[in-house]
């Protein structure tokens, strides 16, 4: 009788622990899925230089985090002129220095050093449907 009770108790413990583990795992997955900002720490962080490529699908990477002082270089493989600039379109007043103030040739790149921390939304001034966000941290 004692053995049966012990087995039952063990089974309950296993069941309880199993559910708890799954719920915890599920919760972690759920919270990650529901995260409002999907951002990645840009590669090349140690070099303090990040390359952003405008492709027909959009900026790659489009949302990323860098420390203050990072140089971000914008290039394009679309074969058309590009013009990365700070929001808002078309005035770019959010970070007015983040604006080459001219179209950049397809084979040409343009670099900008982010010396102000904050969230900087940007877009392609020529095709304003391409957009991204750079989080600059201290």
């Amino acid at each position: 009788m004692k053995t049966i009770k012990k087995i039952k108790k063990n089974k309950f413990q296993k069941l309880f622990l199993g559910i708890l583990a799954l719920v915890t795992l599920g919760g972690i997955i759920f919270l990650n899925i529901g995260s409002p900002i999907e951002t990645e720490v840009a590669t090349g962080l140690l070099d303090k230089e990040v390359v952003v490529v405008l492709t027909p699908q959009g900026y790659e990477p489009s949302d990323f985090t860098v420390p203050v002082g990072t140089k971000v270089t914008f290039t394009s493989v679309t074969g058309k002129p590009h013009w990365p600039a700070s929001n808002l379109h078309p005035t770019h007043e959010q970070y007015s220095e983040f604006d080459p103030k001219r179209p950049i040739e397809p084979e040409e790149s343009w670099s900008f050093v982010f010396d102000k921390s904050g969230r900087w939304d940007f877009h392609d001034h020529i095709r304003s449907y391409y957009a991204g966000t750079i989080y600059v941290t201290n």
């Binding site: 759920f30 002129p81 959010q94 001219r102």
Partner: protein, 417 residues
């Protein structure tokens, strides 16, 4: 209770021989279901984010950027209709959104639609065009179509796409045809910018002539629609002037300086119209000053229509602005143009009115105490004429039967229709 439940559950499971793994999976599914329902984003959660944008940012530009960021998220995650729901909510709550040119903000919605919907599906039949997409002077369609044509600036393509859109959306967008060709002109002009790489080639004529020729060459459309297309070309050009792009600047004291050098009269007409849309840089929000600037041009035949554009523009830029001041200044222009000047205020209130209730601000304005009797009559007349720009006949009948519009406006509309 929980332990008792688990004991009963365990006994039941052992009877029907279901594994603990299965129990775990079922429990997990139920929990996920509950969590999804509880945490699913609804309009309330966006209301919080919208409010935070207003609270966290002091300057108007940052607030607008923040709101547009929320709208973009909704667009990406939930679609066009839901995004327009948020757009409408922001418009109705914050005057620095509605009062900073909501047409431009609606343009950005068109950008999003092109990127998230069109480039993804490559097929317009898969796209969603909700009723509120015509808000703020059809700005959404200006933005969407300009990119569509920018990426494929062909005459046949413009005609084909406009025919499709007008046919599909005739029930929700009564004047889309003109808007479509206007936006086509935007697209021709923006595509031209891809071609002119050498700054030494950046002259007004080099930029505008090929796109204008495309508008002229539209084969299957009326004179009016070609005219819309030409205006679209100059509209982009004056936008460039506004921000100093390609080295162009808007001459606030002599706005028609360039237009007067354009020999083709159709092109010159379009140029005059679009320069007038920026006339506030010289006149401020004063109809009388605007009229004086209009008279500096050489197109006496267009003075009245240009005054209408100028005053309507002043209202569109800020539909919650000081309409009493505009009214008193309109009373000071030439007697024969006073009516046009006044009616333009109503036109502007409609054009950038509350999304889904474009008639509301105009209706309110018509009952203002400061209006003279004759102006009240003009107001009702103009409001009745503008109704069909945003609403179908059946919708207008409903609005009238619900008592949302004044009886006078509804009576005039019935006579007109």
């Amino acid at each position: 209770m929980i332990i008792l439940g688990l004991i009963m559950l365990e006994q039941f499971m052992s009877q029907i021989k279901i594994s603990y793994f299965t129990i775990g999976l079922v429990a997990l599914s139920v929990l996920f279901g509950i969590a999804y329902v509880v945490y699913q984003k609804d309009s309330t959660s966006y209301t919080i984010e919208i409010k935070e944008c207003a609270e966290l940012h002091a300057d108007s530009s940052s607030r607008i950027n923040c709101w547009m960021g929320v709208i973009r998220t909704v667009f990406e995650e939930e679609g066009t209709e839901e995004a327009f729901g948020v757009f409408t909510s922001v418009y109705e709550t914050y005057t620095d959104f509605s009062g900073t040119g909501c047409h431009l903000h609606a343009h950005r919605m068109g950008d999003m639609s092109y990127y998230y919907d069109y480039l993804y599906h490559q097929d317009m039949t898969q796209m969603d065009f909700p009723k509120n997409s015509i808000s703020c002077g059809y700005g959404f369609y200006h933005g969407f179509i300009e990119h569509l044509i920018q990426d494929r600036p062909e005459i046949d393509f413009v005609e084909e796409q406009c025919v499709y859109l007008v046919d599909r959306l005739c029930e929700i967008a009564p004047v889309l045809q003109g808007v479509c060709y206007h936006a086509g002109g935007h697209g021709f002009m923006m595509a031209r910018a891809d071609e002119l790489r050498d700054p030494s080639e950046w002259t007004i004529s080099n930029f505008t002539t090929p796109p204008l020729e495309k508008c002229d060459a539209l084969e299957t459309v009326s004179k009016h629609l070609k005219h819309e297309c030409r205006q679209g070309v100059y509209n982009v050009f004056t936008n460039w002037m506004e921000v100093g792009e390609y080295g162009f600047t808007y001459n606030a004291q002599s706005p028609y300086e360039y237009c007067d050098t354009v020999e083709n009269i159709e092109h010159q007409t379009a140029c005059y119209i679009e320069m007038t849309r920026k006339i506030e840089y010289g006149s401020g929000t004063d109809p009388l000053s605007a009229f004086e600037l209009i008279q500096t041009g050489n197109r006496e035949d267009m003075e009245k229509s240009l005054l209408i554009i100028a005053v309507a523009g002043m209202v569109m830029h800020d539909p919650y602005g000081d309409q009493e001041y505009l009214t008193t200044r309109c009373r000071l222009v030439d007697a024969e143009k006073q009516q046009s000047c006044f009616k333009s205020i109503v036109h502007g209130l409609f054009e950038h009115g509350i999304p889904g209730r474009e008639y509301y601000l105009a209706n309110q304005f018509c009952s203002s105490e400061f209006l003279l009797d004759v102006e009240v009559g003009w107001c009702h007349q103009q409001a009745a004429q503008k109704l069909n720009r945003f609403r179908t006949n059946s919708e207008i009948q409903n609005i009238c039967s619900n008592g949302d519009l004044s009886e006078q406006v509804c009576s005039i509309w019935k006579i007109l229709s």
